[in-house]
Symmetry: C2
Subunit: 209 residues, 2 copies
């Protein structure tokens, strides 16, 4: 069997190379996060991130093939960090639409304090399909939507004639579109628009089949 890629059993202890890789990823993400926060996503060049993290530009691009992939990595790390605070709040709402609505409320608040990152991230997520296969794994948000929708389906609140993945994708695009609209038009309140969006996604726009 080919040695260089073993079957990913996952329980084997990672070698030193993998460990160093992970901590270097963390180091890069920390550095990038700080720079993005200080100067904005567009203003920071990949070369500067590389220098600040004490890496070659080529090496940085080996880890993150496009700049937005780095943004996504950083962003998802933040999202994972916020999840323990968000999740218990959701249990109070009934599975299905109510819980989804509660999540969007909490999410909106979380997003408000990350406006600088949110616009480029949203744009990228809306149109990305050029990341390598491993990068096309479920995004943090997509995984959460899938979970919440599956709960709603199990509770009989969401239609079960369509696969969860499709519903989740539909919701996610509507979500991203709403974010994009709000971020490019300051007159729109994120929380309100998200509530309207959820209404539309759940109830449809009224056409009978």
């Amino acid at each position: 069997m080919p040695i260089h890629r073993m079957p990913q059993t996952g329980d084997e202890p990672p070698g030193r190379r993998e460990r160093k890789r992970q901590q270097q990823l963390d180091h890069i993400a920390d550095t990038a996060w700080a720079l993005f926060e200080a100067e904005g996503f567009e203003a920071v060049t990949m070369e500067r991130i590389a220098e600040a993290a004490d890496l070659s530009k080529v090496t940085l691009y080996r880890h993150f093939p496009v700049k937005e992939a780095l943004l996504r990595h950083v962003f998802h790390r933040e999202l994972r960090a916020a999840w323990p605070d968000i999740q218990p709040e959701l249990a109070w709402a009934a599975p299905g639409r109510a819980r989804l609505a509660r999540f969007l409320e909490l999410q909106a608040a979380w997003c408000e304090s990350r406006r600088a990152f949110l616009l480029p991230y949203t744009r990228f997520r809306l149109s990305d399909s050029r990341l390598p296969a491993e990068g096309r794994e479920r995004s943090g948000m997509e995984a959460i939507f899938s979970e919440l929708i599956a709960q709603g389906q199990a509770a009989g609140e969401f239609r079960a004639d369509l696969p969860v993945a499709l519903l989740a994708m539909h919701l996610q695009f509507a979500h991203l579109a709403t974010l994009l609209r709000c971020l490019t038009d300051d007159r729109l309140a994120l929380a309100d628009e998200l509530a309207t969006m959820l209404d539309l996604v759940c109830n449809g726009m009224g056409g009978r089949s």
Copy 2:
């Protein structure tokens, strides 16, 4: 009053400068269309388009500030050209969902023969919000959706508690998302996925308010 931008009454005869501009736009679009069709969107550089159209690169960028703007211009020209064939077919279906479904059918067929352009165009449309104001005018597709939805609202088939523009935007994003999915996954049939998408947009995913 400032001379260089008059109120755009529109009925004054355009000067020679404006006429030359228009025919140059047409010339550029023709050239770009041919190159795109022959070699694909990504493979053609802006410099080559400029050379082929006998222009300076800077001049080309003056007309189309980003490459995708040129693609959009070319694409919308095609769509406008196809519209006379599509529109009469729509009158046979009742306004509202049926007519929308019919449009998506015809659209799918039209798209099938333009796959090469469709992917970059879709990606761009999904995430564009950096075009100059004049460029953010309603896209061809968005205008059509708006019209069809307004007809459905008037016929009482679509809910009227939300503005047409919002419904149209929602539909358009779902539409683009479906295109993106089908173009990046050959196993999916465009017509089928569009029908499912319309179902989802019209009927919602089943959550009660």
